[in-house]
C-alpha cells in the first residue's frame, strides 16, 4: 500500500491554479523528498494531505484513508511539522509535548523528546513564546515524533535551523525510517535532500515534472561532465579530434585550453584523442553537474 497517493489533484484559489493535476505516490517506509522552488505548490499539496485545504479536483489518500473523509484517522498516525506555524507562547515546551501526547493518546516521555531534538532542558521548561525560530522548529519536530507515527510530514523542516540542527534533523529522519516510518518532507534546498532521500519529486508551477531517485534524476536530466584540458600550447585539430569521440556533445578551444562537454564515461577517450592529435596535456579537470544545475535544468525547462 502507498503511504501517500495523489491522483490528479487540482487546487484553484479563485483564478489562481496552485496545483494542476498532481499525480504522485510515496511508498511505505521510504524517505521521500518533495522539491520545488518557493511558490511551486509544495505547501498547498501538504495542506491537501492534512485537509487544511480541499482539492478542487482529484483525490488523495494518506495511509489508505481519504484525506477529507477520514482526515482524523490520518492525523492519528501522522506526525506533522507544518510550514508557517506558531507555538502557544504561554505554554512551556514540556506542556506542548504533553498536549500532543494527550491528543494522540500516546505515552511519550517529554524529557526524551527534548533530548532527541536537542533542546536545552532548561529552555524546555520555559514558555515557548521566548523561543528562537530554530528552537520552535526543534520543539514542533519533537511534537511530530510523539506517539511513533507511521508517517512524518515535514514542511521545510530545516527552516531556521543552524547546521548542527539541520544535521540532527537528518539523523532523526533516518532513525524514523529505520523504525519503519515513512518520511515525506519538502524543501527548496537540494543539498538537504540529496544525502537523505530515497526518492524525490520535483514540483514546478503546480505540476510534478519528475519523480525518481537522485541518481536516476541525474541520468534522466542528461547532464554531463565538463572536461577542461590545459595544453602546453594551442594545437590545431584537437577540437575536431575531441568531437570525433562518441559521447562528446561539444568541444571548443579557448587559448591553450580545450573545454569538452561529454558523458562521464568517455573522459579518458577524449584525453587520448587529444594526445593523438598532437596535444600535450599538462593537466585536466572534470566538473560534474551539481544538483543545483540539475534542478535548474528541470525547473527552467518548464518555462
Amino acid at each position: 500500500m502507498a503511504a501517500i497517493e495523489l491522483d490528479g489533484v487540482t487546487k484553484r484559489f479563485g483564478d489562481v491554479e496552485a496545483l494542476r493535476g498532481v499525480d504522485m505516490e510515496v511508498r511505505e517506509g521510504e524517505i521521500f523528498g518533495f522539491l520545488g522552488p518557493n511558490g511551486a505548490g509544495k505547501t498547498t499539496t501538504i495542506d491537501v494531505l492534512l485537509d487544511f485545504v480541499r482539492a478542487t479536483e482529484g483525490s488523495a489518500t494518506v495511509l489508505g484513508h481519504d484525506v477529507h473523509e477520514e482526515s482524523r484517522a490520518i492525523r492519528e498516525r501522522t506526525g506533522v511539522l507544518p510550514e508557517g506555524f506558531d507555538v502557544y507562547g504561554r505554554l512551556t515546551g514540556r506542556q506542548h509535548v504533553e498536549f500532543v501526547s494527550e491528543a494522540k493518546g500516546a505515552d511519550a516521555d517529554p524529557d526524551a523528546v527534548c533530548e532527541r531534538v536537542g533542546l536545552d532542558p532548561e529552555d524546555f521548561d520555559r514558555k515557548a513564546g521566548g523561543y528562537s525560530k530554530g528552537m520552535k522548529q526543534r520543539l514542533v519536530l519533537g511534537m511530530a515524533l510523539v506517539g511513533e507515527p507511521d508517517l512524518l510530514i515535514l514542511d521545510e523542516p530545516s527552516t531556521g535551523l543552524d547546521p548542527n540542527g539541520a544535521r540532527r534533523m537528518r539523523e532523526i529522519v533516518r532513525e524514523e525510517r529505520e523504525r519503519g516510518a515513512t518520511v515525506f518532507f519538502s524543501s527548496h534546498i537540494l543539498g538537504q535532500v540529496e544525502s537523505v532521500c530515497d526518492r524525490v519529486a520535483i514540483l514546478q508551477d503546480g505540476e510534478v515534472v519528475a519523480v525518481d531517485t537522485v541518481e536516476g534524476l541525474r541520468e534522466a536530466a542528461g547532464t554531463e561532465t565538463v572536461l577542461t584540458v590545459n595544453l602546453a600550447e594551442s594545437v590545431d585539430g584537437v577540437v575536431a579530434a575531441a568531437e570525433g569521440v562518441a559521447g562528446v556533445e561539444s568541444a571548443r578551444l579557448s587559448g591553450a585550453t580545450v573545454i569538452v562537454r561529454c558523458s562521464d564515461d568517455v573522459k579518458m577517450d577524449v584525453l587520448t584523442a587529444i594526445e593523438d592529435a598532437g596535444g600535450n596535456v599538462e593537466n585536466f579537470d572534470t566538473d560534474e553537474a551539481s544538483l543545483d544545475e540539475l534542478f535548474a535544468a528541470y525547473t527552467e525547462d518548464e518555462e
Binding site: R75, D86, E102
Partner: protein, 351 residues
Amino acid sequence: MSDSDAADGAAGEGAALATLDEALREQFTWYVVAKKEFQDTVRSKGLWVLSLVFLVLFVVPLLSVVFDFLGLGRAARTSGTGVLINSIYLNLVALLLPLIAMFVGYAALTRERESGSLKVLLSLPFSRRDVIIGKVVGRCAVVALPLLAALALTALLVVSMSIPFDPVLYGLFVLFTVGLALVMVSIAVSISGAVPSGRWSLVVNFFAYFYFSFVWNSLANGIGNLLQNQLGMGGAIRWQITLFVKLLSPTQAYKTLVNSRIAANTGANAERLARLEMFSPNADRATLCTDVLLGNATVQQTVFGGNRTVCQSAGNAVPFYFSDAAVFVYLLLWIGLAAAISYYTFDRVDL
C-alpha cells in the same frame, strides 16, 4: 460541563481529578483542546484584568448602598436582595457583561489562524468540530471562573453589610448571569471561527452586541407591525410572535428571567408580569395578557382619569413556552446554535 463534573472537581482529591481528567479525555474528543485553551488563557494577564473588571462591575456598585445614594441604602436594607439586583445590577450586567464576554472570545480562533498555531492544532487528531467546541468550552471556563468569584465575593459583602440576603433568588441570579456570559462568549468564539480575520471578528461581534442590546426590541416590534399591516395577522398570533422574537435576544431573555424571579417573591403572577413588562405601554396589553399569557385583564381607571390594563392571574400558569424554564432554554440554545453555525462555516473554509 455537567453538574457532576463540577461536584467531582470540588472533591479536590488529586487522584479523583486524574481519574476525571482521564475519563473526560476518553469521553470527549474536544476535552484536550478545551483544557489547553484554559491552561493557555489562565497564564495570560487577561484573566487578572477580567477578575478586576468583574470586581469593579459587582463590588463597586455596593458603595451606593453604603453611602446611601438615591435612597438605595434604606430600600436595600429593608427589602434586601431583590431591590439590590433590580436597581443596581440588572441593567448594568445586561449592558456590560455581553461586551466583556465578547472581548474574551472574539479572537479565540482568528488569533490562532493568523499566528499559525492553528496548523499545529489541526495537525493533531482533532476534527474542526472538536476545535470549535473545545474553544467554546475553554473560553467559557475562563469567563465563568472570575465571574463566579466576583459574585461569591459580592454575596459575602451583602451578608456582611446586614442587607437581608435571599440565597435562592441570589443563586438564580448567579445562574442566569453565568448563563448570559457563557452564551455571549460562545457567540463571540463562534463568530471568530466563522470569519477570516481578527478584524472581521471584532466588527461582526460589535454588530452582534449592538443588535442584541439596542436593536432587537425594535426588530421584534417591527416584525409585529409587519404581520399586522402587510399580512393582516392581527390579534393573538401577532403578539405571540412578537413576544417570542423578543425572548430570542439573550439580553432580553436574561432581563425578563431576573425580573420574573424577583417578582416571584411577592406573588404567583410573576412570569406573566415579567413578560408583559417587555412591552411598551402602547402595546395591546389586553390581548397580551388574556390571549398570549392566559391571564385575566381588567381595565382600571387611574387617578388621572386614564385607563390602565391590569393583568391578573386567572388561576392558571402562562403557556409553557413562555415560562421561565422555557426562556432559560432559549437562552442556552444560543450556545449550540452559534457553535453549529460556526462549525458549518469553519468546516468548509481553506485555512
